[in-house]
């Protein structure tokens, strides 16, 4: 499956691993914050509607 | 504006104004370095220009939050902003006062501290020249940083984080002048670059600082 990376296998794999982890963390962070803000807004909008 | 400058100078020299603190800090940094890297004089004389520059830069940084903080707290900054003098001029005077109370003493003290670090004799002139040409830029850039963080409580750390990256070009060219001078190489290009940065900073940054102050005073 993994192509023959020769003597630099560690180098290439660690670079990919580090980058993908960082990017995944970034995306997760953005989506998490987006969800959270949406929930907060919906909550307060509902409350405002209920209370008039 | 002259009155403002005199007032700031007086406030700084008065007890508790922080005058001399920067100098003491500079001294301590320079004394600590040999403890950290070892007492070998060859090594010390090689790193002396850089250490002196970094020491001066940190000493300068230390006193930045005083530029506006006191005036902000007691409300005199609002008065100054409504005074008939343009805010840009006030900011420039503030920076000048900071340089006179912090930058200039550092420049004058640097040769004495250079002896401690075994700086080669040829380097002394260039050290003073580079600090003399570079520290005004440090004061002006620092004033901009101080204006940015004036409204923030405990903004000291943030101020360092904002200002230090802005100090990079000045530090590079300043230390380069001092190092080349100490090694007896040609210094013309870095001196000109350093002077260029200083002049440009003095000419342009007060506008940014004044704009930032206006926003903060809104």
């Amino acid at each position: 499956m993994i192509p023959d990376l020769g003597k630099y296998a560690d180098t290439v794999l660690s670079a990919y691993a580090a980058s993908l982890v960082l990017m995944a963390a970034l995306v997760v962070f953005y989506i998490y914050r987006s969800r959270k803000s949406r929930r907060a807004l919906e909550q307060i909008e509902q409350r405002m509607r209920r209370d008039g | 504006m002259k009155a403002l400058l005199l007032r700031d100078l007086k406030l700084a020299v008065r007890a508790g104004g922080g005058f001399g603190l920067g100098l003491a800090f500079f001294l301590i940094v320079v004394v600590l370095v040999p403890f950290g890297v070892g007492p070998e004089s060859g090594l010390l004389s090689r790193i002396a220009p850089g250490v002196l520059w970094i020491g001066a830069l940190l000493a300068c940084l230390l006193s930045l939050d005083r530029i506006f903080a006191l005036d902000w707290e007691d409300g005199s900054l609002d008065l100054l902003a409504t005074a008939p003098v343009p805010l840009e001029g006030i900011v420039t005077m503030k920076a000048l006062a900071h340089w006179l109370t912090t930058g200039l003493p550092l420049v004058l003290a640097a040769p004495a501290l250079a002896i401690l670090l075994n700086l080669p004799t040829e380097g002394f002139v260039w050290l003073v020249v580079s600090l003399g040409a570079g520290t005004p830029a440090l004061s002006v850039i620092g004033t901009f940083g101080a204006a940015l963080t004036v409204g923030i409580k405990r903004g000291g750390l943030l101020l360092s984080l904002l200002v230090l990256p802005l100090y990079v070009p000045t530090l590079i060219f300043g230390a380069e002048v001092a190092r080349r001078g100490a090694e007896g190489m040609a210094t013309q290009v870095p001196v000109l670059m350093l002077a260029g940065i200083t002049f440009a900073a003095v000419a342009l940054l007060p506008f940014a600082s004044a704009a930032v102050l206006r926003i903060n005073l809104r």
């Binding site: 953005y30 987006s34 | 943030l158 984080l161 904002l162 990256p165 060219f173 080349r180 940014a208 704009a211």
Partner: protein
């Protein structure tokens, strides 16, 4: 149709909201395709061996690290001149992406440099200026976080971005000068474009596209988050008033 219409947050949300998932999906697909292509289907470089595969991460992230700052600069200008609220928030949303991209570029560069130069870190002009750029991102984000009033924060960070841009460019040249002064002649060419052949070029382009779309997706998502957060704060304030 002009960007000024999107100064209205609601209009902005309504227009970009529906396309947002599509941008994200397209970014993900392109990223998978580009990286798969680059990782599995490209030959090794005769000099760099398999480490050449790192460019599919390194070059796009470095590209974005610089251009994210540039986008923030433009957005800051638009905010300062026209008080375009969405623009200020977009600049805020772009900063963490830019900072992360800078880190990715630095990390991949360091990992690549280890076997190539024999050291993790070399005070090479490009590496050094990226490190400085990262410091600028940190300061920018810290300033956003420190100020409570939204408009004040937008104003101050915008001016910081302007001033910072000038100093970032200055630093770039200063660092160039400084390093030549350090070791003359010992130049380490980081220029990989010069020997990039078509086999490497096409997947690289795909990866670039993927990173740009990812950036767009994240910035739009972040902007939406900020707009909602702002609206929530406003509603909370109104609730407390009544």
């Amino acid at each position: 149709m002009s960007i000024w219409e999107y100064a209205n947050p609601k209009k902005f949300m309504d227009t970009t909201g529906p396309v947002l998932p599509w941008i994200g999906a397209l970014a993900a697909v392109l990223l998978v395709v580009g990286l798969f292509w680059g990782f599995f289907l490209t030959p090794d470089d005769y000099r760099q061996g398999s480490t050449v595969k790192i460019i599919y991460l390194h070059v796009p992230s470095a590209f974005l690290a610089i251009n994210a700052w540039f986008m923030m600069l433009v957005a800051s200008l638009i905010w300062l001149i026209r008080r375009h609220h969405v623009s200020a928030l977009a600049a805020k949303a772009a900063a963490p992406v830019g900072a992360t991209m800078t880190v990715i570029a630095l990390v991949t560069g360091a990992i690549w440099g280890q076997p190539m130069w024999g050291t993790w870190w070399e005070w090479d002009p490009r590496l050094t200026s990226f490190l400085v750029l990262f410091l600028f991102y940190l300061g920018y984000m810290a300033l956003w976080g420190a100020i409570e009033n939204d408009d004040t924060a937008a104003d101050l960070t915008s001016i910081l971005c302007l001033v910072g841009s000038v100093f970032a460019i200055l630093s770039r040249y200063a660092v160039n000068f400084w390093n030549q002064g350090l070791h003359q002649g010992a130049s380490l060419s980081m220029d990989k474009e010069e020997n990039v052949a078509d086999v490497f070029w096409v997947p690289l382009l795909v990866c670039m596209g993927a990173f740009v779309l990812l950036f767009l997706y994240l910035v739009l998502t972040g902007t939406h988050t900020e707009i909602r957060a702002r609206r929530t704060r406003a509603l909370l304030a109104r609730e407390r008033m009544s």
